[in-house]
């Protein structure tokens, strides 16, 4: 076979010709897998010239569990539970993607109650995910206080989840054919209270970080990703929208009840870290407004339309469904043989895997500090990268 297969050792071999006029030596340094700024077990090999980053090589796989292989040996309903463990901050949206795929394949029509509950839950989850991101961004940039503010407010939302679902992180709530259980009687009241509480908190966030001179210095014109490059790099979600591409599946291909609510898609213009920051802050506001529109109008109805115990066999062929998680487009691709209740092949098009590679494009020839800001502004969740 003529195709040359490389290894990491070969990849990080230094060439002699340093292009610096001072004839300084470039060197490789490991950032991670145990590093405070890489949010888990992401390992970045940095090619450094002093403080300047010449190249970022993500080295993945530290939490690779072979979820796609497990998926081939489990039913669709079982696979839902695995998706929680990928992007754990968008757990319910991951569940929803699988459910959407199964329902599309089986042509299950859902009632409004299910769609409303799913949408509200997904938006709540988006809010808590972005709140956590906001806190972590602050911490990555050296301000520890936002971290605790973000977590404090996020807790209230996870409390709501806990009451209805019984879980705070890996929910398994949205299932093919409906939702696991009906919402708790307190749900509507508590959601309203939390939204009322959190709205001024977003302004507080902005006061604490957004207006700060240092934050502006650290984020503006840092890690610029042009729209063309972003599209070619396949990034999705807030990162793509910050580059000025208004691709939001909630708007362009509505699922759930996104076609019934009014919201604006936050779009940046420059594509720098600041735009990514602003887009997410704006998304929190939009999500809150969506929840406010929906929360009073949850219609009555059944919450599960498919018998969970029944064997789910998808029709023969390939099935694909995608939706917008807090980090970008998650697609679930399944190939069924039409006989077995297990897929021949199930594949997740994970937003984080496709987003993480843009770190190199953003960071080339800037400082280590910028790298941290960039990685943070991409908002990666490592288990979803490695799957």
């Amino acid at each position: 076979m003529a195709v040359k297969v490389s290894t990491l050792d070969e990849r990080i071999k230094l060439t002699d010709s340093a292009d610096s006029p001072l004839d300084t030596q470039e060197y490789f340094i490991n950032m991670g897998p145990q590093h405070p700024a890489t949010h888990g077990v992401l390992r970045l090999m940095l090619k450094l010239d002093g403080e300047t980053v010449r190249e970022v090589i993500p080295v993945l796989g530290y939490i690779h569990r072979g979820i796609e292989k497990i998926g081939e040996h489990s039913t669709y309903r079982q696979f839902v539970h695995l998706t929680d463990r990928c992007d754990y901050l968008s757990a319910m949206m991951n569940n929803w993607a699988v459910s959407l795929m199964v329902e599309k394949a089986l042509k299950v029509e859902l009632n409004d109650r299910i769609e409303y509950i799913r949408t509200i839950m997904a938006e709540l989850e988006r809010i808590q995910s972005h709140m956590l991101w906001w806190g972590v961004l602050g911490m990555d940039l050296g301000a520890f206080t936002p971290f605790l503010y973000g977590f404090r407010d996020r807790e209230l939302i996870t409390d709501i989840f806990e009451e209805t679902i019984g879980c705070r992180l890996t929910m398994n709530y949205i299932q093919p054919g409906g939702v696991m259980d009906d919402i708790h009687p307190n749900f509507v009241d508590r959601v309203k209270k939390v939204i009322e509480y959190a709205k001024p908190k977003i302004d507080e966030y902005e006061e604490l970080l957004s207006g700060n001179v240092i934050i502006q210095e650290r984020l503006r014109n840092v890690g610029v990703l042009s729209a063309d490059k972003a599209t070619s790099l396949g990034v999705t979600g807030p990162v793509l929208r910050a580059s000025g591409v208004p691709l939001d599946l909630r708007r362009v291909a509505p699922y759930g009840v996104y076609d019934k609510v009014n919201f604006e898609v936050a779009v940046g213009s420059v594509g720098d870290c600041w735009d990514r920051y602003w887009v997410r802050i704006e998304e929190i506001r939009q999500s809150m407004s969506m929840i406010e529109q929906l929360i009073d109008n949850i219609p009555a109805g059944k919450t599960m339309l498919m018998k969970p115990a029944k064997k789910t066999v998808l029709p023969e062929g390939s099935h694909y469904a995608q939706l917008e998680t807090a980090r970008g487009i998650l697609g679930i691709y399944a190939v069924s043989d039409g006989v077995s209740d297990k897929p021949v092949r199930i594949h997740m098009r994970s937003p984080n895997y496709n987003n993480v590679w843009s770190a190199d494009e953003m960071t080339r020839d800037s400082r280590i500090g910028d790298l941290v800001a960039n990685v943070s502004s991409i908002d990666i969740v490592v288990p979803d990268i490695d799957r």
Partner: protein, 372 residues
Amino acid sequence: MLDFLFGQLVATHATFDVVTLSDRTTQALAEDPWLAAGYALLGLAGVGGFLSLLGMALIYVERKVAAHFQCRLGPMRVGWHGMLQSVADAIKLLLKEDIIPDRADRVLFLIAPVFSIIATTLGLILIPMSPSLQVVDLNIGVIFISAVSSFGVLGILLAGWSSNNKWSLLGAMRAGAQFISYEISVTLSLLVVTLFAGSLQLSEIVQSQQDGWWIWRGHIVGLVAFFVFLIASTAELNRPPFDLPEAESELTGGFHTEYSGLRFSFFFLAEFINMFIASALAATLFLGGWMPFHIGGLHTFNGLMDLIPPGLWFAGKTTFIIFLIMWVRWTFPRLRVDQLMRLEWKFLLPVGFINLFAAATLVITKLYFFPW
């Protein structure tokens, strides 16, 4: 009328006699060598004890301040409101295994934290805490402190280099660049006050503020110098927003990545004591040190102020500045390396020079006292 009522107090508004511990030792040496030895021992023990106690107290305060900024309680379990938490931490640090990396430069690795702590201790002995509480009062005090404090970076550079860790080296190089740059601004703002006071001796600088503190007696110049000093010395302390040498989200731990246990605690202690020294210096030079709040000419008011012991004044002012530094730490994010350098070389340095020039003009034209 107030003068009539409080006439006696006005009478007590006299000059404060500064007697340092070294003075006492020198005097006693001629008469009673044992007393002199006792004084010297007292000085040593005092500095050692003060160093560790202050370190623990500051760590406790930092944690509490941080906690309340972040809407939480901080340490609450060990002792009343977690008062003994620092003690427990200190014991833990002492008992921890002392790890020396295999490929590290052993000798330098062991020496580096000692350098750091010695530089800090040398700075500490000069601080005038009250007229009778000062270990040594050198006549070149200001220069000595700035010399000794820049000596501390040697420990950090050695630590970063000898660890044989690229992150540590990066941190150390950052520290070196940062110290050398910001040292200039610190010195420039110190020079402003020495120009005003006409002395390099710390006790004399305090005495010279009998009629008002330099922060406003120097008109705007004093204020500018104070802020330049505050910013530059925060940078010298490696504290956020200038904590680049140990920026934990960028360099994992910076220069002390490889340190653990006792040696790590030396760096930690040195950092906190340095914060105290910087705050004390700011208080001494700009806020009058132990000198009570005086306004030139208002004898009654000054007399009332004298009721509060000088030691308390010093403690209060220092605490205030320490709180300021902590406040900044728990609010601001971190600068980037090039921005840090830009701030110093393109902003603080020109401002410092212009300010020094203005100060010299004020001193020559004798404009720096209050009109009365």
